[in-house]
């Protein structure tokens, strides 16, 4: 069902956001705890972690890809891919913050607001809000959040996720981050396809 899939999308966004954070026992537990009802993407993620997972290798790979020092193989910031000369805190970054503000949110992570963790979390937020609205039959609200979902992909996350995840895949030394790259790219691409435009929702409501 649409609502179920919207809800599923929201939880997957949240899971992906978590996966980009520093790997720790919490994440491993979460992945291990994914039961059989989770979709194939979540299963692949869980399986790629390794058994038993090598925490140190994962931590080193995560640092090399996203944190540094010296350089990051796959900088996890929108502006690096959307603007010239790999800069941070560009105009696109400022725009991402505007998006969050418009929905009554602000970034509290000590990172620029276009960090992939934050953008994925924002997608989780709007997708979940959409699912909630759909579930409650609130068409206008659903239309709004579905619109936000689609537009944020078009303006931000969707525009840079492919380049970013390609770099990740090129440089990842662990199966987990390789897999995460591929799955994130695929998932976001599919999400863009399945976005419903607000018009359709309104048509439905008046039908």
């Amino acid at each position: 069902m649409v609502i179920t899939s919207e809800y599923q999308r929201a939880t997957t966004y949240q899971l992906l956001s978590d996966c980009f954070r520093e790997p720790g026992q919490g994440l491993l537990d979460k992945l291990a705890g994914l039961d059989g009802t989770c979709d194939s993407l979540q299963q692949q993620l869980r399986d790629s972690v390794g058994s038993p997972p090598d925490m140190e290798r994962l931590a080193i790979d995560h640092a090399r890809l996203f944190v540094g020092p010296f350089t990051t193989a796959a900088p996890p910031y929108g502006s690096v891919y959307l603007e010239a000369q790999a800069r941070l805190m560009g105009d696109s970054t400022a725009d991402a913050a505007v998006w969050y503000g418009e929905d009554g949110l602000e970034n509290t992570l000590s990172e620029p607001p276009d960090h992939v963790i934050i953008e994925l979390e924002y997608m989780h937020f709007v997708a979940l809000k959409a699912a909630e609205a759909l579930n409650a039959g609130e068409a206008e609200k659903a239309s709004y959040y579905l619109g936000r979902e689609e537009q944020f992909l078009a303006d931000h996350l969707g525009r840079w996720i492919a380049a970013f995840t390609q770099r990740m895949e090129e440089h990842a030394e662990t199966a987990f981050y390789c897999c995460l790259a591929r799955l994130t790219r695929q998932f976001v691409a599919d999400a863009a396809v399945f976005s419903l435009c607000a018009e359709e929702v309104r048509d439905v409501d008046s039908a």
Binding site: I3, A86, G158, R159
Partner: protein
């Protein structure tokens, strides 16, 4: 957007969606399911809803891209730094700011910037050992550092702690001095000796000024700029660049430099001197000034009217006295009556009399008529004729006396401390922190326990004050740091091993000649914490990395600078909220370490820091942020507090000062130091009693003679020549046959010291430096030499010296003296970010000059030798 060609699953069609909605709700139960799991995002507080106001403001702070230390302003819009300009309130740079300031925007928002504390997981250290850093919390990082320090204390080994300081603000004593002393170590090592200490040597041993000078260019009629490039580097670039057009209109400008610098390119005369022969040119100019009778009478004096000798003649010694009849008696009178100088005739007799322009021409490789023309031009323009002594002629193995000789010309010209000449820094009124030597109210003594006292008493690791390294700072042997030699001390465990290092705002593993020695030294040290904004070569060998605030945007501090006849005190201010969880190196991190040490039972450091009270409220600091701010307010109180005002600009209070960002001194008191120079004679010394005293003191301490010291310090002069400016044959590494080209190092207009290489703009605009190329690191050869070697533009070449080699691109260019190869400093980072390194961790972009420059020194000042010190051979790769 990537559209897949997967067909949507049946559930996703519009029909089923409609059906589902019409069915009115689904089996998803529970409001809890719809609560977003937000960790990074949070409900915005009231003010945060105003996003993208579009409003911005200019906020004051300071740029430390070079040592101009300009007062600047940053345009901040919605907490983003957008643009930089000069602070119009400064009378030193007057709203001007040079081009390199803008690169700071690419530093603060560099994706390769350090964002979190990290610890090394690979215990092995070496160029080929990936440290495999992983993020840790600030708590874990600080706990680790505190544990290491505590361990030293517990084992009475505090002298094995070392603080390495690179760049700094004047908050530096908090970490560099107080913390090192209270822990109990003598080993606080600054970078000064890889800076231009030898530049201070000449001015001190002539006019008692151990400092950089400012230059009254707007009132001068002749400027001889010697191995300095005011339009590009080093001293108040923003000011000099902004007025240079005016200077060129009124004054003759001559530049001494083996390569055509930016300043030389606009000068009236370019003297492409043979590297290392600066002393020859200097003494010859002095000779010409004297034989032509062009010395300044007011400052120097003149022949006694009754003296039979009334002129300086080449080759002829002059008696110091003559006998005359006065009131029927025979009296001895001085041949030459000096006003504000001392020892002119001795100098002439000992050194100058046969140092003709012809003699100098053969050594310096300059035309006789040019030498004569410049000397006479200076003399005729005197006293509005200055000799601007930069790092080039003096940071050489035998550069001490060149420094004296070149600067002594200002004495002959009467331009020292005079209008149109060279000046000192105006008085300023910043104060010291609690625990200063002269502090009676809050002395340091009570915080130095027995362990600390015992530890501090050990000898320093940089060998200063040994027979071979007099390091005669301000006349006191053994007080000048010998930075690059600390590597030797560490490697040889002489006087002892070093176990725990904190290094801040530094990268000795790149910035010191023969950098590979630092790699070996660092690999030996069991524990190093690097406090920095960007991880670099030094970090590669470190154990803990702490992300620091950027000095231009995120730090509280202050620095002082002078130019345009003023001194300013300009504050570093936090003008944006830092994006990452960074802390300030000189204040916040020491406070945090002090807190951790107190938790472990060692409270002296924290208790000392608590004395840094807010001058406005009297409150003691309770956290790192308050400590940083109160310390700054304390040190600058005489500037902003109307009740303590001592001179210069006035403010209504702290907030007024903070908003303007900069305090200016009173105007320069020309000639105030005439008769009161801080030399032993209080005169401008051509025969330096001051240097004589210092050398004799050092010789006595080492049970030898001054000649013995000169031999140990690689100087050739003996006897009385030691006390006058004189020519020394250059000491250059490498046999001329095997290594045919003398290496000429220089600094770029875009260097933010050594830190620009990861900025795109640095590379994009590198051709701003005459002869250089964008996106390349070129070694420039004169076309005559290039063609002979069969080298073309763009060829990959290797420069090899007796101590190392580097690879870079070749460029043939006429602005380079034949027999030399000129290459800029700043590139060649093998680990410093995606732009700086070609293949990160392996292949640098360009080459690091310090890989070919040997670790040698002007031992009299302790300065590292960068210029006229090494020959190379050039081969195609």
């Amino acid at each position: 957007m990537n559209r897949t060609d997967q067909t949507p699953e049946p559930e996703q069609t519009r029909q089923t969606f409609m059906k589902g909605l019409a069915a009115g709700g689904v089996a998803l139960a529970g409001a809890a399911m719809f609560v977003p799991a937000l960790k990074a995002l949070a409900a915005a507080s009231g003010s945060a809803r105003k996003v993208a106001s579009g409003k911005g403001e200019w906020r004051p702070t300071t740029c430390q891209g070079c040592t101009s230390w300009c007062a600047v302003q940053v345009y901040v819009q919605d907490e983003r730094a957008i643009k930089i300009r000069g602070n119009p309130h400064s009378k030193v740079n007057n709203g001007n700011c040079c081009v390199r300031a803008h690169l700071a925007l690419q530093q603060v928002y560099d994706p390769d910037r350090l964002r979190t504390p990290l610890k090394r997981t690979n215990p092995k250290k070496g160029r080929n050992e990936d440290p495999k850093f992983v993020p840790i919390s600030w708590d874990e990082a600080l706990d680790t550092i505190a544990d290491k320090i505590k361990e030293l204390r517990d084992n009475n080994e505090t002298h094995k702690y070392m603080l390495m300081r690179g760049r700094y603000t004047y908050m530096r004593d908090i970490i560099y001095d107080r913390m090192t002393k209270i822990i109990g170590s003598p080993n606080n090592i600054s970078h000064s000796a890889i800076c231009a200490e030898a530049e201070k040597f000449g001015p001190f041993y002539t006019e008692g000024l151990w400092d950089y000078r400012q230059y009254d260019v707007l009132n001068t009629n002749y400027a001889l700029v010697w191995g300095a490039d005011p339009l590009s580097a080093n001293r108040q670039v923003s000011h000099y660049s902004s007025v240079w057009g005016q200077v060129m209109e009124r004054a003759t400008i001559a530049v001494v430099d083996p390569r055509l610098s930016a300043t030389a390119a606009k000068a009236d005369e370019w003297l492409p001197i043979k590297p290392g022969e600066d002393g020859a040119l200097a003494v010859a100019i002095a000779h010409v000034l004297l034989t032509e009778g062009l010395w300044n009478r007011e400052f120097v004096g003149g022949f006694h009217p009754q003296s039979p000798v009334q002129a300086f003649e080449a080759g002829t010694e002059i008696p110091l006295e003559f006998t005359a009849e006065v009131d029927g008696k025979s009296v001895k009178l001085p041949t030459f009556e000096e006003n504000h100088t001392h020892g002119l005739v001795e100098w002439w007799n000992l050194e100058l009399r046969d140092k003709t322009a012809q003699w100098a021409s053969e050594r310096a490789g300059l035309p006789v008529d040019q030498i004569t023309r410049v000397a006479i031009g200076l003399g005729k323009a005197a006293p509005r004729a200055m000799v601007w002594v930069g790092g080039g002629p003096v940071m050489q193995v035998r550069g001490g006396y060149s420094s004296m000789a070149a600067h002594a010309l200002n004495g002959l010209l009467g331009s020292a401390d005079n209008v149109g000449g060279t000046m000192a820094a105006n008085k300023e009124y910043t104060g010291k922190f609690p625990g200063d030597k002269k502090d009676k109210k809050t002395p340091l003594g009570p915080f130095l326990d027995d362990i600390a006292k015992a530890g501090k008493a050990h000898k320093k690791i940089d060998q200063r004050g040994t027979k071979e390294f007099p390091a005669l700072k301000k006349g006191h042997p053994g007080t000048g740091v010998v930075t690059n030699n600390a590597a030797e001390g560490i490697l040889n465990e002489d006087p002892n091993e070093i176990k725990v290092v904190i290094g801040y705002f530094n990268n000795f593993t790149f910035s010191c000649p023969q950098a590979e020695r630092w790699e070996r030294a660092m690999a030996k040290i069991p524990f190093t914490a690097h406090l920095t904004t960007h991880a670099s070569e030094f970090s590669w060998f470190s154990d803990i990395l702490l992300p620091c605030s950027h000095h231009l945007f995120e730090k509280w501090g202050y620095v002082k600078s002078h130019g345009n006849g003023y001194r300013h005190v300009t504050m570093n201010q936090q003008v944006i909220k830092p994006v990452w969880d960074v802390k300030t190196d000189e204040t916040e991190i020491p406070w945090e370490i002090a807190t951790k040490l107190a938790e472990r039972g060692f409270t002296n450091l924290l208790e000392h820091y608590k004395q840094y009270k807010d001058p406005e409220t009297g409150k003691a600091p309770t956290n790192a942020g308050e400590f940083a701010l109160y310390a700054l307010k304390h040190a600058t109180q005489k500037l902003w507090d109307p009740e303590q005002h001592a001179g210069g600009d006035t403010f209504s209070g702290w907030e007024d000062f903070r908003r303007k960002g900069v305090w200016n001194s009173d105007p320069y008191p020309f000639r105030k130091r005439w008769g009161a120079f801080k030399t032993r004679t209080h005169k401008f010394e051509f025969y330096s009693e001051t240097l004589k005293h210092a050398l004799e003191e050092h010789a006595e301490a080492h049970e030898t003679t001054v000649d013995g010291i000169l031999e140990a310090t690689k100087y050739l002069a003996r006897g009385e020549l030691a006390f006058v400016p004189h020519y020394e044959e250059p000491f250059v590494w490498g046999d001329e046959k095997e290594y045919p080209f003398v290496h000429v190092d220089y600094k770029s207009r875009l260097n933010r010291e050594g830190r620009s290489a990861n900025c795109y703009w640095y590379n994009e605009f590198k051709d701003l430096d005459p002869g250089d190329e964008a996106w390349s690191d070129v070694a420039k050869l004169n076309p005559v030499d290039g063609r002979r070697l069969g080298i073309k533009d763009g060829d990959t070449i290797k420069l090899t010296s007796p101590t190392g080699s580097l690879t870079c691109a070749a460029k043939l260019w006429e602005g380079v003296r034949p027999g030399t190869v000129a290459k800029c400093y700043g590139q060649g980072h093998w680990t410093y970010g995606r732009v700086a390194a070609k293949e990160f961790g392996r292949i640098p972009n360009g080459g690091n000059n310090n890989d070919i420059i040997p670790a040698d020194y002007d031992r009299l000042s302790g300065a590292t030798a960068f210029y006229g010190v090494v020959r190379v051979k050039v081969t195609k790769v």
